[in-house]
Symmetry: C2
Subunit: 193 residues, 2 copies
């Protein structure tokens, strides 16, 4: 099903086509696709080029490992994520490696990295769905995530199955005028006309 966003201005196909399915066809993602998807994350910008992101990647082919990964999710997310080809946990460094100071941009930079890999996936017909509802302490324990990284979120990679409820019309966003201001708060930027 075409879930392409009904955009008000033209954007990259990858941006319009990216969406977050709740139903997956459990066929695998190829190695070549996975390499390019994470390569996309690798080239993300970050504060002082710290690259504070790390990813724990669990494909469903490894049944026992995949079951363990699913157990790190809250029940609702376990219910739909179980059919995805790959489950990933995303963690962010707590401190800058170059000077040991707290890195207050690491979650922001991790977000950038996941956005980039989501677009690389989208253009390959691979759908991502990010997951906030998980047990971070359990992820830390199962994968021995060191204290120097925070467990931030997870996401699925795979091929969407069923049509999304509502189709593309169900994909809603605030208007640009509510997001993009000029020098006065809450007043649209001049270029929006």
């Amino acid at each position: 099903m075409d879930m392409r966003a009904r955009t008000d201005h033209p954007v990259l196909d990858a941006i319009a086509d990216r969406w977050s399915p709740y139903a997956y066809d459990p066929r695998p993602v190829s190695t070549a696709d996975l390499c390019s998807i994470f390569e996309a994350a690798r080239w993300t910008a970050s504060s002082y080029n710290e690259q504070p992101w790390r990813f724990i990647v669990v494909p469903r082919e490894d049944e026992a490992a995949f079951a363990n990964a699913l157990d790190c999710l809250v029940d609702f997310n376990k219910g739909w994520a179980k059919d995805a080809a790959v489950l990933v946990f995303a963690v962010a460094a707590t401190h800058y490696q170059n000077n040991g100071k707290p890195n207050d941009k690491s979650q922001y930079d991790l977000g950038q990295a996941v956005a980039q890999l989501s677009l690389e996936a989208a253009v390959r017909g691979i759908d991502t769905h990010q997951i906030g509802g998980l047990f971070a302490d359990k992820v830390r324990e199962v994968y021995a995530v060191p204290e120097s990284f925070d467990v931030i979120c997870g996401f699925t990679l795979g091929y969407a199955a069923a049509p999304n409820e509502g189709g593309p019309e169900g994909r809603t966003r605030h208007p640009l005028a509510a997001l993009v201001f000029g020098t006065t708060w809450n007043e649209p930027a001049d270029f929006l006309g």
Copy 2:
């Protein structure tokens, strides 16, 4: 100058071409480009579709406003950002609008939005450079940012001028094997071979 990343695996042109210049040619960015760039941010994924991002956009054509915006940056960043076509400040909601709880994903989601708009810019030949070194309190004061939003960062939009020191070889990243693990921390995921 071609600053295209020397990637190990193929990725979207926008991802390979995006980089962060320190020198700008001060010609303006068109209204059509600005609209598409922020439209790209608009369609970003976010936790509960909260879209916690807001942008304050200051083009250099408005000299007094641009000077005020530059004054929100630390001296080093003011030095190179002064020639960019547009200076933007990016803020994130502190709480979820749907239930009033603290939004601990808003910085992450803002990072996603800026990544998306940076790629939309890159494919249009427009270069972004994100800025952490700014006076957040001053941004809040100058633009009357309410307490319900945190000032996170800024970024420039414009056309790169001088070649970057070092060219594309100067663009370095950790290898994928140092970023993408399987079920054992610090051991590369199987698909990396």
